[in-house]
């Protein structure tokens, strides 16, 4: 089985699966180790981009998924209006970004950064499957600890948490702003 055949098989697997498919599962099917599998898929990603294919391969942690490209949105829209979920409110986004960067984190910690109550926005984020409970702190009241979900990554087109805009950059932004202010 040559490389091209393997890529062909992987493409059909991704198509069938529809949802994020893990490197582990793919490597089992094509009988290659995980590292090689990952390299093949990354090659495919480049092929897709290079050939300006109508589809792209996106990565979410250790999984891959086929999707359309954002630049084709207007054309797809002409064919059908796919269900468009409402975007998040600013309050929810603020809460979410704090959880994303500082996870694992309790509600009280989030609130101390934002300076306002966050119970409602946390509930919204849980309902939207962006945030989940990942445990409880072992102290009085056993407060819930929150973290982000895989869906959160996918929703924002992030491969993993390391892809969040760097806080260092943010610090620099602050400095710059301070100078100009």
């Amino acid at each position: 089985m040559d490389q091209r055949e393997i890529k062909s098989i992987i493409e059909s697997l991704l198509f069938i699966w529809g949802e994020p498919l893990s490197i582990k599962d793919i490597s089992k099917v094509i009988q290659r180790d995980k590292k090689e599998t990952e390299q093949i898929i990354k090659d495919m990603k480049d092929d897709f981009d290079y050939n300006r294919r109508g589809l792209q391969i996106i990565q979410i942690n250790d999984s891959f998924q086929l999707s359309t490209r954002p630049e084709h949105y207007e054309w797809i829209e002409k064919l059908c209006l796919p269900k468009n979920s409402k975007t998040l409110s600013n309050a929810a986004l603020e809460t979410l970004s704090i959880i994303a960067y500082k996870q694992p984190i309790t509600r009280v910690e989030v609130e101390s950064v934002r300076g306002v109550k966050c119970d409602k926005s946390i509930i919204t984020l849980i309902e939207k499957n962006m945030v989940k409970e990942i445990g409880r702190l072992d102290k009085t009241g056993r407060p819930i600890i929150y973290g982000t979900t895989e869906y959160f990554l996918k929703y924002f087109g992030l491969e993993n948490l390391e892809e969040l805009p760097k806080i260092k950059e943010l610090n620099e932004i602050n400095k710059e702003e301070n100078n100009t202010v």
């Binding site: 069938i16 529809g18 999707s67 300076g115 306002v116 996918k154 929703y155 932004i173």
Partner: protein, 248 residues
Amino acid sequence: MKYTVVLESFEGPFDLLYHLIEKSEVDIYDIPISDIADQYINYLEKMEELDLDITSEFLVMAATLLEIKSKMLLPKEKNEGEQLEFEETDPREELVRRLIEYKKYKIAAEKLKEKELIHSKVFYKPKEEIEHFYESKDDILEGLELSDLIKALDKVIKKNKTANENFDMKNIEREEITIEQAMDNILGLISENDKIEFDDLFINKVNRSNIVVIFLALLELIKLENITIVQTNNFGDIIIKKYTKDNV
């Protein structure tokens, strides 16, 4: 005439405070507290005039600002006694630290918003129905009970919680049938049974508009010479039959 002042809405006291600092173009590490505190309180008063809901967090911040302001007004103590170390720290320090921390995540939130915009334009396809590989088509629908149906629905909804936000459970109404559907139904019944009684058409169709639709469908079918109607005596059963030349 009353005119309304458009007030920007702020996500919280830090958001407002940061806004005021930026607007005044002052160094965040050297905030003129007295000035900013006045602006802040001024803003809260405007909110109050407009009957906006001022949450306690905004009031707490106002108190904090006033507290810092009064501390700054105190003459610097001479280097005496134990109080000194305490007084040496800038009373604004904690506030500034929190403001900067807050601003970091506010910027992060804006960046995420940009990403959200791009990726809301990406679509996926549903998973293929691979269970089908294993289903022997014959027995899947054997011996089912209503409770199995409910369980299945319950399972789907739970399994697919996020996608189902638009599975609006409260607004499910039985859709009206169209005349075309009603015509198809009638023809179907007739081809199965040769003839049917008029009343049978309306069993289960309690809804008034459905009754009207079925009746219209019947008239349409008669017009199209698809069916014919027979009533042997007054107030007797009305029989609906397939139209043939013989039974006219």
